[in-house]
């Protein structure tokens, strides 16, 4: 996380008690909430570092007495079956490295495709005139209200009929070309861009594609990055659709792989140390996103609600 220095600018005058006891309690409350926000993530890491045989004895402690990386190596498929079983694994394995690769491809394709194609459409809705434009745009807006399950059942049938079950095309198809939200989000921004630069380019003889590529996209890096971040978070975490389409282990994404890994031991005690190692591995990319793009991620999320 990029630590941003406190910029404690003077607060505007507000009625304030002479004794700042209330403020102290407020800070304590806030600290408690932050602690509650982060505590479960520490427990994940602590459990992942605990040897399976110590799971019973150290269940209540906050610190692994003999930290080990065996669980991480286990879920990443870096140890032999015998070693994994010796370390307390069930022997059943889900290949998390492969799932990580699938998740990266799934998310990457959708982020790039959806952002670019939605930007193209948003540009047309904001700047070009063509018959039916407003009707089509209104249809997009209505579509934002449809709940996922309404679309997922017929879409599942479409993908099945195309023979795309268990394939990357089948997994990305519903998202890669557009979402109504993405088009709407970018159109609102494109509308606010000044027209002067574009008009100058038109006089120079530039066509719509040149203007879009050379002017609109470079001027919109902020909103494009915002949309890309929102899409990346949403798709990295998407469960339902890959869960329907990827029934074959080779095509699991991380959320699906985790769920399968969990259900592999329906009876008895689940492989908690392995599960928590897998959970942590699956969360690392979003942590990295936050660490490297901290301010941008926070602003993107805030912006998504108040545009």
């Amino acid at each position: 996380m990029t630590t941003v220095p406190h910029t404690d600018t003077a607060q505007p005058p507000r009625p304030r008690r002479p004794f700042p006891l209330g403020r102290l309690f407020a800070y304590l409350g806030l600290a408690l909430i932050i602690l509650i926000s982060l505590f479960p993530i520490w427990i994940v890491l602590k459990t992942a570092l605990t040897p399976t045989r110590a799971l019973f004895t150290e269940a209540a402690s906050l610190w692994p007495s003999e930290p080990t990386l065996i669980n991480f190596r286990r879920v990443l498929g870096l140890v032999t079956l015998e070693e994994a079983q010796a370390a307390g694994g069930s022997g059943s394995a889900v290949n998390f490295l492969n799932a990580m690769r699938n998740s990266l491809i799934f998310t990457g394709l959708i982020v790039v495709g959806q952002t670019f194609f939605s930007a193209m459409a948003a540009y047309a809705f904001a700047r070009l005139r063509f018959p039916g434009r407003d009707v089509i745009f209104t249809l997009f807006l209505i579509a934002m209200m449809i709940p996922g399950i309404v679309l997922f059942i017929p879409n599942f049938i479409t993908i099945r009929n195309l023979g795309w079950l268990n394939t990357i095309p089948g997994m990305v198809a519903p998202f890669v070309l557009m979402t109504p939200f993405a088009v709407f989000f970018l159109r609102q921004f494109f509308l606010s861009l000044p027209r002067e630069t574009e008009e100058a380019a038109v006089i120079d003889g530039a066509g719509p594609f040149t203007i879009f590529w050379r002017i609109t996209l470079p001027m919109s890096q902020g909103p494009l990055a915002t949309l890309a971040i929102l899409t990346a978070i949403g798709m990295w975490n998407e469960f339902f659709w890959p869960f329907l389409i990827a029934k074959d282990e080779a095509s699991y994404t991380l959320p699906v792989a985790l769920q399968v890994f969990r259900t592999q031991t329906p009876q008895g005690v689940p492989d908690w140390t392995g599960l928590m190692a897998g959970t942590f591995v699956a969360a690392v990319p979003v942590f990295l996103l936050l660490v490297f793009l901290g301010r941008r991620v926070v602003e993107s999320l805030a912006f998504s609600g108040t545009k």
Binding site: R14, P15, R23, L30, I34, S37, P40, I43, V44, T47, L55, A59, F117, M120, A124, L128, R129, F130, A143, M145, I146, I149, V150, L151, I153, P154, N155, T158, R160, A173, L177, M178, D204, G205, P208, F209, I215, P218, I233, W236, N237, F239, L244, L254, P255, V256, L258, Q259, V269, W272, L275, M276, T279, A283, R295, V298, L301, A302, G305, T306
Partner: protein, 308 residues
């Protein structure tokens, strides 16, 4: 990406001016082509197809058989549907008020106490995790035997709690898990809304000697209404569609106590292969969501602003 804008002129074909149409219309269609394909195939067609499937009896293998309104009649008569709807409503009633009130308090605290982007970043960490991961984490922490929460509760007079494994506690537990996930994000939305309120309004209130609570109730809350509407409408729509957490933690159990509507729809579609019945129920859910959204917008007077 700061490529200088190239000014080389692209020669227009000579016939361009002869066409009286606005020059962009063909380009317009080319630009929306990918999006239109995506929209037509994965939004428009499935919405209409779903409506059509909902009037049939279809197990995915045989030919769909038209049954008219029979699926919808069955929905109305199906006690499991009503039970699933009621469980969903219970979930929403646990989830939404807690999440919204906590987020609002947190947002005001952020506004008054911290400016640090770092702290805001910490608060949204749970939101960045997938529902599956979040469910997995709490499944472990609340495990009846080894979970740290129960290990600690065992030391108190309360004793161990069943959480996900009890019919009474499962829905509140799932709701609390999702409050944990979403509260920081919703607080961030409220916080962004608070930033938009002009500081002069507060200064005026301070001069009038208005107390903190009065200022909050008479100024902050009303002026925050556009954000509140957004947060409530989107989180209610989202809550009604709860699925991931249930699929990972309880799978509808114990004794159907967490069989929420989308989980029941999912079971009908992909376990019992009753596509017609499942889509009919999802259409009913769609109708419920539209009614809910309109009622909320009306109650919260979404289109009016108290500024100006």
């Amino acid at each position: 990406m700061t490529a200088p804008v190239q000014t080389e002129s692209v020669a227009l074909p000579a016939r361009a001016p002869t066409k009286r149409r606005s020059p962009g219309w063909l380009a317009g269609y080319l630009f929306i082509l990918p999006a239109i394909v995506g929209f037509a195939v994965f939004y428009l067609y499935p919405a209409l197809r779903g409506l059509q499937i909902s009037f049939t009896d279809w197990n995915l293998l045989s030919q769909p058989r038209d049954v008219g309104l029979a699926n919808y009649q069955e929905v109305v008569r199906d006690p499991k549907f009503w039970s699933a709807l009621w469980i969903t409503v219970k979930y929403v009633l646990w989830n939404i008020p807690l999440q919204t009130v906590l987020a609002l308090i947190l947002a005001v605290a952020m506004d008054r106490l911290v400016k640090s982007m770092f702290v805001k970043g910490l608060l949204i960490v749970p939101y960045l995790l997938s529902n599956v991961i979040v469910a997995m984490i709490f499944l472990w922490m609340l495990d009846p035997l080894l979970g740290i929460v129960n290990q600690w509760l065992d030391l108190t007079p309360l004793g161990k709690q069943p959480f996900f494994t009890s019919a009474e506690q499962a829905i509140p537990t799932i709701a609390l898990v999702n409050v944990w996930k979403h509260v920081g994000f919703n607080a961030l939305l409220f916080y962004a809304g608070l930033q938009a309120i002009p500081r002069t309004v507060y200064e005026a209130a301070a001069i009038d000697g208005s107390s903190e609570w009065t200022t909050f109730r008479r100024i902050t809350l009303p002026l925050l209404r556009p954000v509140t509407v957004f947060v409530l409408v989107t989180s209610v729509i989202g809550s009604f569609q709860i699925f991931d957490t249930v699929a990972v933690t309880t799978q509808g159990g114990p004794a159907d106590a967490t069989k929420v509507l989308v989980y029941y729809i999912y079971q009908n579609a992909f376990s019992f292969f009753r596509m017609g019945y499942a889509t009919a129920m999802s259409m009913v859910l769609f109708a419920i969501l539209i009614v809910f959204t309109l009622v909320q917008m009306r109650l919260l007077r979404a289109n009016e602003s108290d500024l100006e």
